[in-house]
Symmetry: C2
Subunit: 429 residues, 2 copies
């Protein structure tokens, strides 16, 4: 009955999972819906920005040569020959001592090479003609935003796989991408297991707990950018469970179960994996919490068997499932972002397994410092709410002390890491 499980390292486990990474299909969404999605194509500039020499200010467009000799005691006067608002083009060429009233964003009229800000001019009328005078000289190019100075036509501005933030939206709008190619969101199914689980709306009963894992995981799936499909709770009948899993696999891209992966008699997952011919990639990882995390694959589809303990479940998702979701978006840094931090508390007890302590990473004068966010057991739920990082304490024969350099994995970060695992080992050997 009791199988001996052989633990593998976290890096190895992640690598085995990543062999099943896949890329989602493209779909088009309107620009208004694109924020928060991931681009499915490189976006190149289809024109220069600005597309024409334009005025960054309100003022008067003139020829620099005409300003020569202007001074406080020697104002130079220009005839105002027209006015040009943003969106309009002044068609004639501007000549000697002529000025055109120009608004922010309007194209520079032919002949002009300076915009004098409105504040530096004096306007007056004589015989039904408007004039403008200035009291200083201007160099050619003053206050001109040149064609292409921001972006040159053909530049690849945003690469496939990039997260669409508000700045990216601005670029997409600028280049006329009103139907945005994004990666479809993978559908991640969730099934909860455990006879002890009550729904959040149920009253407490002796020996039972409310099902927090399924709801937590669904929020984690959303945070990672995927779509959730909830299949509720497993029945106690293993044959029914097998049917539910088979059916769920037809409706989702990835399937997560919470609980049922320990070595207990009621832990059905190993039997289910066997029954549906899924290949178990690993069923023991040298990590705390979450050492029983199990991942299996069937016809290329991943089944994540996360622990039933809240903290272990949370960690298992972020380490193993999140990168598969991000990779489906063509993202080149699908893993949690790894950074170095100063440890803000002692962890003197050595542990043979690598620990992922739920922590708070904050800054002290710009230096990242990480402290545990609360009660640190795999069953803990309270430490998750405040956590924005995992503190990575590699397994070994010694503990860790306040002030030591440690790796942290940031949870609420959009950037990610390409591969945080090798380095973790390296840093500590």
């Amino acid at each position: 009955m009791l199988q001996q499980r052989k633990p593998i390292t976290v890096g190895d486990a992640v690598q085995r999972v990543m062999e099943y990474a896949f890329q989602e299909k493209k779909e088009l969404v309107s620009l208004l819906q694109a924020h928060g999605r991931f681009l499915a194509e490189d976006i190149a500039a289809d024109h220069d920005v600005p597309a024409f020499d334009r005025s960054p200010y309100d003022g008067y467009a003139i020829r620099s040569v005409d300003s020569q000799g202007a001074a406080s005691e020697n104002p130079v006067t220009f005839t105002i020959v027209g006015e040009i608002g943003a969106g309009y083009v002044f068609e004639e060429e501007v000549c000697n001592r002529e000025a055109v009233r120009i608004m922010t964003g309007a194209p520079i009229p032919k002949g002009c090479d300076v915009v004098v800000m409105l504040e530096l001019t004096h306007t007056f009328e004589e015989n039904n003609q408007m004039y403008m005078s200035i009291k200083r000289t201007f160099e050619a190019g003053t206050n001109i935003s040149y064609k292409g100075e921001d972006v040159q036509k053909g530049t690849i501005l945003i690469e496939k796989g990039q997260y669409i933030n508000p700045g990216v939206v601005a670029l997409l709008a600028t280049f006329g991408v009103d139907q945005v190619p994004v990666f479809r969101k993978p559908i991640v199914g969730v099934i909860a297991t455990g006879s002890e689980l009550l729904d959040p709306s149920d009253s407490l009963q002796p020996g039972k707990i409310r099902n927090s894992n399924a709801y937590m995981i669904m929020a984690q799936i959303e945070r990672a950018g995927a779509t959730v499909k909830y299949f509720g709770k497993f029945s106690d009948d293993i044959n029914l469970c097998i049917d539910v899993v088979k059916k769920a696999l037809e409706e989702v891209d990835i399937l997560i179960t919470t609980g049922g992966v320990s070595v207990g008699d009621y832990d059905y997952l190993p039997a289910i994996y066997e029954a549906i011919d899924a290949k178990v990639l690993f069923n023991k990882v040298a990590m705390r919490p979450g050492s029983v995390t199990t991942v299996a694959a069937r016809n290329g589809q991943l089944l994540f068997g996360l622990s039933g303990n809240p903290s272990a479940c949370y960690v298992g998702f972020e380490l193993f499932t999140r990168p598969i979701i991000r990779k489906a978006f063509g993202n080149k840094q699908p893993h949690l972002r790894r950074e170095q931090a100063v440890l803000g508390a002692d962890f003197k007890k050595a542990n043979p397994f690598t620990r992922f302590v739920r922590g708070i990473a904050s800054y002290e004068d710009g230096q990242l410092v990480a402290v545990p966010s609360g009660f640190d057991k795999s069953s803990a739920v309270s430490s998750l709410a405040g956590a924005n990082a995992f503190i990575v304490l590699p397994g070994g024969s010694r503990g860790y002390e306040k002030g030591m350099q440690v790796a942290v994995l940031l949870l609420e970060d959009l950037q990610g890491s390409e591969w945080p695992w090798d380095n973790i080992k390296k840093s500590y050997k």
Copy 2:
């Protein structure tokens, strides 16, 4: 025609806006919809977690006293008197040399004070009775998760105004909050101004540009957590504009216009504010980009007149509008999170106004370093896509050099700051 505008400091401007801060009404959403919202009530633990002494592992529950004397050469044998899965209660009291097979999460039977992990036991059968033997002693309390060790009943776990992340969702589920009180999302209206604006789906035309600001701002509104209502582009007829603004104000909590706040002849906003009896809180801020940012109020409702330049528009939203949205969620740190960083590039040219350079904040060995994300003009659109921070360079008579300590405001952060402005001044005076 040309009014002289008096610039005020950014801190003063933000303060004037924050006097109009308001708190949204509460609404209930299902737990599945709660991720990403802000809690509208403190959440206290309605029971201990764990709610009962429970087993963190699969194994056997025994009395520690019965393990005394057990050793490799002297195994101690227990009679297995029952088995208990998670969710069930073992009703009898466990006596001398009795053991109960126990699963992860199950309540500890009366009398027991140790759980021996399955791996450390040996089971066998004799005369139709199952037995279990161990080869070492265990201290009382070994492998027991005690009632209340994670959370004690009555503890306030999550405060009103807190962002609901996956860990918070887990807590809400644990405490049976299946209908979650959250703050309603404020509705933020957006109107674009400018005769030069084309829709993103339009072909380019001489002198015109595509409307990137409105789409960018809508994504920024979403990122801040509010709901967008887009009213399209202003007409060229000021009377029609006035009607649109009046009508929009009836449908939204906050109204944003982009463009039309400069001193140009076609900049309608000042006239509109006057026509609708809105009080202008300021129309010039000592900042770059975005010095023309104008904010007005009418019957307690805020009208944000953001610049028509993309970078200026972006900065104006994040500094002035975002905190109003976050404050509507009862959030205590509604402003962009301010941290200290090492400047990664020279900015030698002094500027009398405080500059907000669009930048990338990254870590070098855990130390925050900020470099500009690209072309730095108020009209730039390319530098926004890569930016995750503003580098704050206070105005004055000197420039800044690589390696200096500067303040940064983080754009993609969930934590925020209570009031980043006083310190900025202090740090540099």
